[in-house]
Protein backbone atom coordinates (compact mmCIF):
# COMPACT_ATOMS: atom_id res chain seq x y z
CA UNK A 1 0.00 0.00 0.00
CA UNK A 2 1.40 3.41 -1.02
CA UNK A 3 1.38 5.91 1.80
CA UNK A 4 -0.41 9.23 1.39
CA UNK A 5 1.73 12.36 1.32
CA UNK A 6 0.97 15.67 2.95
CA UNK A 7 2.57 19.00 3.72
CA UNK A 8 1.57 21.67 6.21
CA UNK A 9 1.31 25.47 5.95
CA UNK A 10 1.50 25.55 2.18
CA UNK A 11 -0.57 28.71 1.78
CA UNK A 12 0.85 32.04 2.93
CA UNK A 13 -2.23 34.05 3.66
CA UNK A 14 -4.43 31.49 5.38
CA UNK A 15 -4.10 30.97 9.12
CA UNK A 16 -3.46 27.31 8.54
CA UNK A 17 -3.32 25.11 5.47
CA UNK A 18 -2.40 21.64 4.33
CA UNK A 19 -2.17 19.76 1.08
CA UNK A 20 -2.85 16.05 1.02
CA UNK A 21 -2.41 13.50 -1.70
CA UNK A 22 -3.67 9.94 -1.55
CA UNK A 23 -2.04 7.84 -4.28
CA UNK A 24 -4.41 4.89 -3.87
CA UNK A 25 -7.59 6.79 -4.69
CA UNK A 26 -5.76 9.51 -6.62
CA UNK A 27 -7.29 12.46 -4.80
CA UNK A 28 -5.32 15.62 -4.22
CA UNK A 29 -6.89 17.99 -1.71
CA UNK A 30 -5.81 21.48 -0.65
CA UNK A 31 -7.31 22.75 2.61
CA UNK A 32 -7.19 26.08 4.38
CA UNK A 33 -8.43 27.12 7.80
CA UNK A 34 -9.16 30.61 9.03
CA UNK A 35 -9.80 30.81 12.75
CA UNK A 36 -10.89 32.54 14.85
CA UNK A 37 -12.59 35.06 12.61
CA UNK A 38 -15.49 37.41 13.05
CA UNK A 39 -18.62 36.09 11.43
CA UNK A 40 -20.27 38.49 9.01
CA UNK A 41 -23.79 38.09 10.34
CA UNK A 42 -25.11 37.24 13.78
CA UNK A 43 -25.08 33.48 13.36
CA UNK A 44 -24.17 32.95 16.98
CA UNK A 45 -27.58 33.09 18.63
CA UNK A 46 -28.08 29.34 18.86
CA UNK A 47 -24.88 28.43 20.66
CA UNK A 48 -23.50 31.57 22.29
CA UNK A 49 -20.77 29.71 24.20
CA UNK A 50 -19.36 27.78 21.26
CA UNK A 51 -17.50 28.45 18.03
CA UNK A 52 -19.29 28.14 14.69
CA UNK A 53 -17.65 25.70 12.32
CA UNK A 54 -18.17 26.12 8.61
CA UNK A 55 -16.92 23.72 5.98
CA UNK A 56 -16.79 24.38 2.25
CA UNK A 57 -15.88 21.70 -0.27
CA UNK A 58 -15.00 22.87 -3.78
CA UNK A 59 -14.60 20.37 -6.60
CA UNK A 60 -11.82 21.15 -9.03
CA UNK A 61 -13.76 21.54 -12.24
CA UNK A 62 -17.41 22.25 -11.42
CA UNK A 63 -19.42 24.21 -8.94
CA UNK A 64 -20.35 22.61 -5.65
CA UNK A 65 -23.61 20.71 -5.69
CA UNK A 66 -25.68 18.31 -3.64
CA UNK A 67 -22.83 15.85 -3.08
CA UNK A 68 -20.59 18.55 -1.68
CA UNK A 69 -23.34 19.78 0.64
CA UNK A 70 -23.69 16.19 1.88
CA UNK A 71 -19.99 15.74 2.78
CA UNK A 72 -19.85 19.24 4.22
CA UNK A 73 -22.53 18.14 6.67
CA UNK A 74 -20.60 15.01 7.62
CA UNK A 75 -17.34 16.92 8.02
CA UNK A 76 -18.98 19.61 10.11
CA UNK A 77 -20.46 17.08 12.52
CA UNK A 78 -17.13 15.26 12.95
CA UNK A 79 -15.06 18.45 13.34
CA UNK A 80 -17.52 19.93 15.83
CA UNK A 81 -16.68 17.00 18.09
CA UNK A 82 -12.96 17.57 17.69
CA UNK A 83 -12.60 21.38 17.84
CA UNK A 84 -12.64 22.91 21.32
CA UNK A 85 -14.92 25.82 20.51
CA UNK A 86 -15.06 26.98 24.11
CA UNK A 87 -11.39 27.84 24.50
CA UNK A 88 -10.57 31.48 25.00
CA UNK A 89 -11.13 33.61 21.92
CA UNK A 90 -13.30 31.09 20.11
CA UNK A 91 -16.90 31.40 21.38
CA UNK A 92 -19.16 33.28 18.91
CA UNK A 93 -16.35 33.34 16.36
CA UNK A 94 -16.01 31.26 13.27
CA UNK A 95 -13.71 28.43 12.22
CA UNK A 96 -13.90 28.36 8.43
CA UNK A 97 -12.48 25.35 6.62
CA UNK A 98 -12.20 25.42 2.84
CA UNK A 99 -11.27 22.22 1.03
CA UNK A 100 -10.52 22.23 -2.68
CA UNK A 101 -10.25 18.97 -4.58
CA UNK A 102 -7.46 20.00 -6.92
CA UNK A 103 -6.53 16.68 -8.49
CA UNK A 104 -7.61 13.15 -9.15
CA UNK A 105 -10.78 13.85 -11.06
CA UNK A 106 -14.00 14.93 -9.50
CA UNK A 107 -16.86 12.84 -8.25
CA UNK A 108 -19.50 12.54 -10.96
CA UNK A 109 -23.03 13.38 -10.02
CA UNK A 110 -24.67 10.24 -8.69
CA UNK A 111 -21.39 8.63 -7.65
CA UNK A 112 -20.68 7.93 -4.02
CA UNK A 113 -19.00 10.82 -2.25
CA UNK A 114 -17.57 8.53 0.41
CA UNK A 115 -14.46 7.87 -1.69
CA UNK A 116 -13.16 11.42 -1.07
CA UNK A 117 -14.25 11.63 2.54
CA UNK A 118 -11.07 10.24 4.21
CA UNK A 119 -8.88 12.60 2.15
CA UNK A 120 -11.11 15.54 3.12
CA UNK A 121 -11.05 14.51 6.79
CA UNK A 122 -7.27 14.20 6.89
CA UNK A 123 -6.76 17.49 5.06
CA UNK A 124 -9.05 19.38 7.40
CA UNK A 125 -7.35 17.86 10.47
CA UNK A 126 -3.88 18.81 9.23
CA UNK A 127 -5.04 22.32 8.30
CA UNK A 128 -6.62 22.76 11.75
CA UNK A 129 -3.37 21.63 13.38
CA UNK A 130 -1.42 24.04 11.23
CA UNK A 131 -3.73 26.91 12.25
CA UNK A 132 -3.20 26.00 15.94
CA UNK A 133 -6.93 25.68 16.52
CA UNK A 134 -7.46 24.01 19.92
CA UNK A 135 -8.50 20.40 19.39
CA UNK A 136 -9.57 17.75 21.88
CA UNK A 137 -7.90 14.96 19.92
CA UNK A 138 -6.65 13.96 16.51
CA UNK A 139 -8.19 11.28 14.35
CA UNK A 140 -7.54 9.11 11.33
CA UNK A 141 -9.95 7.72 8.82
CA UNK A 142 -10.09 4.84 6.35
CA UNK A 143 -12.11 4.00 3.26
CA UNK A 144 -13.01 0.36 2.73
CA UNK A 145 -14.99 -1.28 -0.05
CA UNK A 146 -16.59 -4.71 -0.16
CA UNK A 147 -16.47 -6.33 -3.58
CA UNK A 148 -19.26 -8.45 -5.00
CA UNK A 149 -17.33 -11.59 -3.99
CA UNK A 150 -17.13 -10.40 -0.39
CA UNK A 151 -13.49 -9.29 -0.25
CA UNK A 152 -12.62 -6.20 1.70
CA UNK A 153 -10.48 -3.72 -0.29
CA UNK A 154 -8.68 -0.76 1.22
CA UNK A 155 -8.94 2.57 -0.66
CA UNK A 156 -10.76 1.29 -3.75
CA UNK A 157 -10.24 3.32 -6.93
CA UNK A 158 -13.16 5.14 -8.55
CA UNK A 159 -13.96 2.19 -10.82
CA UNK A 160 -13.70 -0.33 -7.98
CA UNK A 161 -15.90 1.84 -5.78
CA UNK A 162 -18.56 1.90 -8.47
CA UNK A 163 -18.51 -1.88 -8.71
CA UNK A 164 -18.39 -2.49 -4.95
CA UNK A 165 -21.43 -3.83 -3.18
CA UNK A 166 -20.85 -1.56 -0.20
CA UNK A 167 -18.55 1.32 0.79
CA UNK A 168 -17.57 2.26 4.33
CA UNK A 169 -15.74 5.22 5.85
CA UNK A 170 -14.71 4.92 9.47
CA UNK A 171 -12.78 7.43 11.58
CA UNK A 172 -11.12 6.73 14.91
CA UNK A 173 -9.96 9.33 17.42
CA UNK A 174 -6.45 9.26 18.86
CA UNK A 175 -7.98 7.78 22.00
CA UNK A 176 -9.43 4.86 20.04
CA UNK A 177 -13.07 5.90 19.93
CA UNK A 178 -15.14 5.45 16.79
CA UNK A 179 -15.83 8.99 15.57
CA UNK A 180 -17.55 8.43 12.26
CA UNK A 181 -19.24 5.55 10.53
CA UNK A 182 -20.69 6.17 7.10
CA UNK A 183 -21.78 3.18 5.03
CA UNK A 184 -23.42 2.81 1.65
CA UNK A 185 -24.78 -0.26 -0.11
CA UNK A 186 -25.88 -3.70 1.03
CA UNK A 187 -24.04 -5.44 3.85
CA UNK A 188 -24.80 -7.40 7.02
CA UNK A 189 -23.63 -6.98 10.58
CA UNK A 190 -20.91 -9.63 10.28
CA UNK A 191 -19.41 -7.80 7.30
CA UNK A 192 -19.52 -4.52 9.19
CA UNK A 193 -17.73 -6.10 12.14
CA UNK A 194 -14.97 -7.28 9.80
CA UNK A 195 -14.83 -3.82 8.26
CA UNK A 196 -14.47 -2.23 11.66
CA UNK A 197 -11.64 -4.54 12.66
CA UNK A 198 -9.84 -3.87 9.40
CA UNK A 199 -10.32 -0.11 9.78
CA UNK A 200 -8.96 -0.17 13.34
CA UNK A 201 -5.85 -1.96 12.14
CA UNK A 202 -5.36 0.53 9.30
CA UNK A 203 -5.92 3.62 11.43
CA UNK A 204 -4.44 2.61 14.75
CA UNK A 205 -2.45 -0.56 14.07
CA UNK A 206 -4.24 -2.24 16.96
CA UNK A 207 -4.18 -5.99 17.28
CA UNK A 208 -7.35 -7.65 16.11
CA UNK A 209 -8.62 -11.11 16.76
CA UNK A 210 -10.51 -13.56 14.57
CA UNK A 211 -10.59 -13.82 10.82
CA UNK A 212 -8.94 -10.49 10.09
CA UNK A 213 -5.73 -11.59 11.81
CA UNK A 214 -3.53 -12.31 8.80
CA UNK A 215 -4.47 -9.06 7.08
CA UNK A 216 -3.78 -7.07 10.21
CA UNK A 217 -0.41 -8.74 10.66
CA UNK A 218 0.64 -7.64 7.19
CA UNK A 219 -0.29 -4.05 7.83
CA UNK A 220 1.28 -3.94 11.24
CA UNK A 221 4.58 -5.20 9.95
CA UNK A 222 5.09 -2.42 7.40
CA UNK A 223 4.07 0.14 9.99
CA UNK A 224 1.53 1.88 7.75
CA UNK A 225 -0.65 3.27 10.50
CA UNK A 226 -2.59 6.33 9.49
CA UNK A 227 -2.44 8.02 12.91
CA UNK A 228 1.32 7.62 12.72
CA UNK A 229 1.24 9.32 9.33
CA UNK A 230 -0.56 12.37 10.79
CA UNK A 231 1.92 12.55 13.66
CA UNK A 232 4.94 12.27 11.39
CA UNK A 233 3.70 15.02 9.09
CA UNK A 234 3.21 17.41 12.01
CA UNK A 235 6.52 16.47 13.66
CA UNK A 236 8.42 17.01 10.41
CA UNK A 237 7.01 20.50 10.05
CA UNK A 238 7.72 21.40 13.67
CA UNK A 239 11.28 20.13 13.29
CA UNK A 240 11.71 22.49 10.34
CA UNK A 241 10.14 25.44 12.18
CA UNK A 242 12.08 24.89 15.37
CA UNK A 243 15.36 23.73 13.88
CA UNK A 244 17.18 26.48 15.79
CA UNK A 245 15.79 25.20 19.07
CA UNK A 246 16.05 21.47 18.58
CA UNK A 247 19.60 21.58 17.26
CA UNK A 248 20.92 23.82 20.00
CA UNK A 249 19.92 21.32 22.69
Amino acid sequence: MVEPTASLSTLNRADGSASYKCPATGYDVLGSVNAPIELPARRDALKPEDATIEVFVKPGNTTAGVGERYVEGILRSVLTEVVLGRERGYPRRGVVITLAIVGGGSVERGDSYLTVLPALLHTSLLALLSASVPLAMTFSSALLGVTKSGDIVRDPSAADAKAASSLHVLAFSSKGHLLLNESEGCFDFDTWELIRERAVSICRGAAVSGTGEDVAMGERSNDARLDGFVRETVEDRLHVDYAWKIESN
Binding site: L8, S9, D15, G16, P36, E38, L39, D44, L84, E87, G89, P91, R92, R93, L129, S130, A131, S132, V133, P134, L135, A136, M137, T138, S173, S174, K175, V230, R231, V234, E235, R237, L238, H239, V240, D241, Y242, A243, W244, K245, I246, E247, S248, N249
Partner: protein
Protein backbone atom coordinates in the same frame (compact mmCIF):
# COMPACT_ATOMS: atom_id res chain seq x y z
CA UNK B 1 17.03 20.28 29.15
CA UNK B 2 15.97 16.89 27.88
CA UNK B 3 15.16 16.00 24.30
CA UNK B 4 12.45 18.14 22.72
CA UNK B 5 9.00 16.69 23.10
CA UNK B 6 6.43 17.19 20.36
CA UNK B 7 2.81 16.82 21.38
CA UNK B 8 -0.37 16.52 19.34
CA UNK B 9 -3.85 17.46 20.55
CA UNK B 10 -5.07 14.94 23.09
CA UNK B 11 -1.59 13.83 24.12
CA UNK B 12 -0.80 13.84 27.82
CA UNK B 13 2.20 15.75 29.10
CA UNK B 14 4.49 13.23 30.80
CA UNK B 15 5.05 14.26 34.41
CA UNK B 16 8.84 13.95 34.18
CA UNK B 17 8.91 16.82 31.67
CA UNK B 18 7.24 19.23 34.11
CA UNK B 19 9.35 21.55 36.26
CA UNK B 20 9.95 20.06 39.73
CA UNK B 21 7.14 20.92 42.13
CA UNK B 22 7.70 23.93 44.29
CA UNK B 23 5.51 25.84 46.68
CA UNK B 24 4.05 28.13 44.01
CA UNK B 25 1.58 26.55 41.61
CA UNK B 26 2.47 25.60 38.05
CA UNK B 27 1.32 28.08 35.41
CA UNK B 28 -0.11 26.82 32.14
CA UNK B 29 0.69 28.68 28.94
CA UNK B 30 -1.15 28.46 25.63
CA UNK B 31 -1.85 25.08 24.06
CA UNK B 32 -2.35 23.13 27.27
CA UNK B 33 -5.32 22.36 29.46
CA UNK B 34 -5.93 20.59 32.72
CA UNK B 35 -8.31 17.66 32.74
CA UNK B 36 -9.36 15.65 35.75
CA UNK B 37 -10.00 11.98 35.34
CA UNK B 38 -12.11 10.35 38.00
CA UNK B 39 -10.31 7.17 39.00
CA UNK B 40 -12.20 4.03 39.83
CA UNK B 41 -9.95 2.96 42.70
CA UNK B 42 -9.82 6.11 44.81
CA UNK B 43 -12.25 8.92 45.36
CA UNK B 44 -9.80 11.68 44.56
CA UNK B 45 -9.67 12.62 40.89
CA UNK B 46 -6.50 12.32 38.92
CA UNK B 47 -5.29 15.44 37.11
CA UNK B 48 -3.61 15.24 33.74
CA UNK B 49 -2.25 17.95 31.46
CA UNK B 50 -3.19 17.46 27.85
CA UNK B 51 -2.20 19.37 24.73
CA UNK B 52 -4.82 21.16 22.65
CA UNK B 53 -2.49 22.16 19.82
CA UNK B 54 0.40 20.57 18.01
CA UNK B 55 3.67 21.94 19.25
CA UNK B 56 6.91 21.72 21.11
CA UNK B 57 6.72 21.53 24.90
CA UNK B 58 8.56 24.43 26.54
CA UNK B 59 9.13 24.63 30.27
CA UNK B 60 10.59 27.41 32.37
CA UNK B 61 11.85 26.10 35.71
CA UNK B 62 12.53 29.57 37.13
CA UNK B 63 9.05 30.94 36.59
CA UNK B 64 7.45 27.51 36.98
CA UNK B 65 5.56 27.67 33.69
CA UNK B 66 4.87 25.14 31.01
CA UNK B 67 3.53 25.95 27.54
CA UNK B 68 3.35 24.64 24.03
CA UNK B 69 5.11 26.39 21.14
CA UNK B 70 3.08 25.93 17.99
CA UNK B 71 3.74 26.74 14.35
CA UNK B 72 5.44 30.10 13.97
CA UNK B 73 3.65 31.49 10.94
CA UNK B 74 0.25 31.90 12.50
CA UNK B 75 -1.79 35.07 12.44
CA UNK B 76 -1.36 37.47 15.35
CA UNK B 77 -4.27 37.53 17.77
CA UNK B 78 -4.10 40.47 20.21
CA UNK B 79 -3.49 39.50 23.82
CA UNK B 80 -3.41 41.89 26.76
CA UNK B 81 0.06 43.34 27.57
CA UNK B 82 1.56 42.45 24.20
CA UNK B 83 3.79 45.07 22.61
CA UNK B 84 2.73 45.82 19.04
CA UNK B 85 3.66 48.17 16.24
CA UNK B 86 0.48 49.76 14.93
CA UNK B 87 -0.13 52.06 12.00
CA UNK B 88 -2.55 54.96 12.26
CA UNK B 89 -5.45 54.58 9.83
CA UNK B 90 -7.41 57.66 10.75
CA UNK B 91 -8.08 59.87 13.71
CA UNK B 92 -11.36 60.74 15.41
CA UNK B 93 -12.23 63.07 18.29
CA UNK B 94 -11.14 60.76 21.10
CA UNK B 95 -9.22 58.00 19.40
CA UNK B 96 -6.66 57.13 16.80
CA UNK B 97 -7.90 54.17 14.77
CA UNK B 98 -4.92 51.88 14.23
CA UNK B 99 -4.17 48.84 12.14
CA UNK B 100 -2.45 46.04 14.06
CA UNK B 101 -3.10 43.18 11.66
CA UNK B 102 -4.42 43.44 8.11
CA UNK B 103 -8.06 42.66 7.33
CA UNK B 104 -9.26 43.00 10.92
CA UNK B 105 -11.19 45.66 12.75
CA UNK B 106 -9.18 48.71 13.78
CA UNK B 107 -7.68 48.92 17.24
CA UNK B 108 -8.37 52.04 19.29
CA UNK B 109 -5.60 54.20 20.72
CA UNK B 110 -6.73 57.06 22.94
CA UNK B 111 -5.65 60.54 21.81
CA UNK B 112 -4.37 61.17 25.34
CA UNK B 113 -2.78 57.79 26.11
CA UNK B 114 0.74 59.05 25.50
CA UNK B 115 3.35 60.04 28.04
CA UNK B 116 2.71 63.58 29.24
CA UNK B 117 -0.17 64.14 26.83
CA UNK B 118 -2.82 66.74 27.63
CA UNK B 119 -5.52 68.24 25.47
CA UNK B 120 -3.06 70.92 24.34
CA UNK B 121 0.10 68.84 24.04
CA UNK B 122 -0.92 65.62 22.39
CA UNK B 123 0.89 64.05 19.47
CA UNK B 124 -0.68 64.95 16.16
CA UNK B 125 -0.42 61.66 14.31
CA UNK B 126 -1.36 61.46 10.67
CA UNK B 127 -2.50 58.57 8.56
CA UNK B 128 0.34 56.10 8.04
CA UNK B 129 2.31 57.10 11.14
CA UNK B 130 3.61 54.33 13.37
CA UNK B 131 3.24 53.87 17.10
CA UNK B 132 4.80 51.37 19.46
CA UNK B 133 1.99 50.48 21.85
CA UNK B 134 0.88 48.00 24.47
CA UNK B 135 -2.41 46.12 24.19
CA UNK B 136 -4.52 47.45 27.06
CA UNK B 137 -7.60 45.28 26.63
CA UNK B 138 -9.05 42.99 24.02
CA UNK B 139 -12.67 43.03 25.13
CA UNK B 140 -14.97 40.07 25.48
CA UNK B 141 -16.51 38.03 22.72
CA UNK B 142 -16.89 38.63 19.05
CA UNK B 143 -16.90 42.16 17.69
CA UNK B 144 -15.06 43.52 20.72
CA UNK B 145 -12.68 46.42 20.29
CA UNK B 146 -8.98 46.09 20.92
CA UNK B 147 -7.64 49.03 22.91
CA UNK B 148 -4.02 50.13 22.79
CA UNK B 149 -2.07 52.45 25.03
CA UNK B 150 1.35 54.06 24.95
CA UNK B 151 1.41 54.86 28.64
CA UNK B 152 1.09 52.99 31.91
CA UNK B 153 -2.18 54.35 33.34
CA UNK B 154 -0.94 53.89 36.92
CA UNK B 155 2.29 55.89 36.62
CA UNK B 156 1.70 58.10 33.60
CA UNK B 157 5.07 57.03 32.19
CA UNK B 158 5.73 55.25 28.93
CA UNK B 159 6.43 51.87 30.47
CA UNK B 160 8.18 49.76 29.31
CA UNK B 161 10.43 52.40 27.74
CA UNK B 162 10.13 53.36 24.15
CA UNK B 163 6.36 53.33 23.81
CA UNK B 164 4.99 56.11 21.67
CA UNK B 165 5.23 57.37 18.11
CA UNK B 166 7.99 55.83 15.99
CA UNK B 167 9.62 58.55 13.90
CA UNK B 168 11.68 57.74 10.84
CA UNK B 169 13.01 54.26 10.23
CA UNK B 170 11.38 51.46 8.36
CA UNK B 171 9.16 48.49 9.19
CA UNK B 172 9.89 44.90 8.16
CA UNK B 173 7.47 41.99 8.34
CA UNK B 174 8.51 38.75 10.04
CA UNK B 175 6.57 35.75 11.29
CA UNK B 176 4.86 36.06 14.67
CA UNK B 177 7.03 33.25 15.99
CA UNK B 178 10.19 35.20 15.11
CA UNK B 179 8.80 38.36 16.74
CA UNK B 180 8.12 36.43 19.96
CA UNK B 181 11.64 35.02 19.83
CA UNK B 182 13.20 38.47 19.40
CA UNK B 183 11.19 39.82 22.32
CA UNK B 184 12.24 36.92 24.53
CA UNK B 185 15.86 37.46 23.54
CA UNK B 186 15.72 41.13 24.50
CA UNK B 187 13.86 40.66 27.79
CA UNK B 188 15.85 41.84 30.83
CA UNK B 189 16.12 38.32 32.27
CA UNK B 190 17.79 37.09 29.11
CA UNK B 191 20.51 39.74 28.97
CA UNK B 192 23.09 37.73 30.89
CA UNK B 193 23.43 34.94 28.37
CA UNK B 194 24.67 35.66 24.87
CA UNK B 195 22.40 33.42 22.81
CA UNK B 196 18.78 33.17 23.78
CA UNK B 197 16.60 30.96 21.61
CA UNK B 198 19.47 30.55 19.20
CA UNK B 199 19.47 34.22 18.21
CA UNK B 200 22.84 35.84 17.69
CA UNK B 201 21.90 37.93 14.65
CA UNK B 202 21.17 41.11 16.66
CA UNK B 203 24.29 40.85 18.79
CA UNK B 204 26.37 40.26 15.68
CA UNK B 205 24.80 43.22 13.85
CA UNK B 206 25.35 45.43 16.87
CA UNK B 207 29.03 44.50 17.01
CA UNK B 208 29.60 45.10 13.30
CA UNK B 209 27.58 48.31 13.00
CA UNK B 210 28.86 50.01 16.14
CA UNK B 211 31.34 52.07 14.15
CA UNK B 212 28.55 53.37 11.91
CA UNK B 213 26.59 54.76 14.83
CA UNK B 214 24.55 51.71 15.80
CA UNK B 215 20.85 51.28 15.26
CA UNK B 216 17.55 51.31 17.07
CA UNK B 217 15.02 48.53 16.86
CA UNK B 218 11.46 47.94 18.07
CA UNK B 219 9.76 44.54 17.85
CA UNK B 220 5.98 44.18 17.76
CA UNK B 221 4.34 40.89 18.60
CA UNK B 222 2.18 41.33 15.51
CA UNK B 223 5.15 40.35 13.37
CA UNK B 224 6.55 43.83 12.68
CA UNK B 225 10.07 45.07 13.27
CA UNK B 226 10.88 48.75 13.14
CA UNK B 227 14.50 49.60 12.38
CA UNK B 228 16.03 53.05 12.55
CA UNK B 229 19.64 54.11 12.16
CA UNK B 230 19.49 57.85 11.70
CA UNK B 231 22.95 58.09 13.33
CA UNK B 232 24.54 56.33 10.39
CA UNK B 233 24.50 59.44 8.23
CA UNK B 234 24.95 58.74 4.52
CA UNK B 235 24.75 54.98 4.79
CA UNK B 236 21.55 55.05 6.91
CA UNK B 237 19.39 53.58 4.17
CA UNK B 238 21.87 50.82 3.41
CA UNK B 239 22.23 49.87 7.07
CA UNK B 240 18.45 49.77 7.56
CA UNK B 241 17.93 47.54 4.57
CA UNK B 242 20.81 45.27 5.63
CA UNK B 243 19.37 44.81 9.13
CA UNK B 244 15.94 44.07 7.70
CA UNK B 245 17.37 41.53 5.27
CA UNK B 246 19.33 39.79 8.03
CA UNK B 247 16.28 39.46 10.26
CA UNK B 248 13.96 38.33 7.49
CA UNK B 249 16.34 35.70 6.13
CA UNK B 250 17.02 34.38 9.62
CA UNK B 251 13.28 33.96 10.00
CA UNK B 252 12.53 32.46 6.60
CA UNK B 253 15.42 30.03 6.48
CA UNK B 254 15.38 29.06 10.19
CA UNK B 255 19.11 29.70 10.44
CA UNK B 256 21.16 28.43 13.36
CA UNK B 257 23.70 30.53 15.25
CA UNK B 258 26.68 29.84 12.98
CA UNK B 259 24.66 30.49 9.82
CA UNK B 260 23.32 33.75 11.28
CA UNK B 261 26.88 35.02 11.74
CA UNK B 262 27.75 34.00 8.19
CA UNK B 263 24.63 35.71 6.86
CA UNK B 264 25.42 38.98 8.64
CA UNK B 265 28.96 39.01 7.22
CA UNK B 266 27.70 38.18 3.74
CA UNK B 267 24.95 40.81 3.65
CA UNK B 268 27.09 43.57 5.15
CA UNK B 269 29.89 42.80 2.70
CA UNK B 270 27.40 42.78 -0.18
CA UNK B 271 26.24 46.25 0.90
CA UNK B 272 29.88 47.40 1.31
CA UNK B 273 29.29 48.19 4.95
CA UNK B 274 31.89 45.94 6.53
Amino acid sequence: MSTPLILLPGDEVPSDYLPPTKSNPLKLGPGLRLLSQPTASSKSSNHVLTATQAGLLATDAKRNTVSLQSFSNRRYIPTTNDLVIAQIHHSSVDYFHCMVTPHTAHAMLGQLSFEGATKKTRPMLKQGDLVYARVLSVGVGAGAEVELTCVNPATGKAEPGGLGPLVGGMVFDVSTGMAARLLRASSPSAEKSDTVDGLVVLAELGKKLESLGGFEIAVGRNGKIWVDCSNAGESAVKVTVAIGQCLQSTDERNLDAADQKKLVTKILRGMKLA
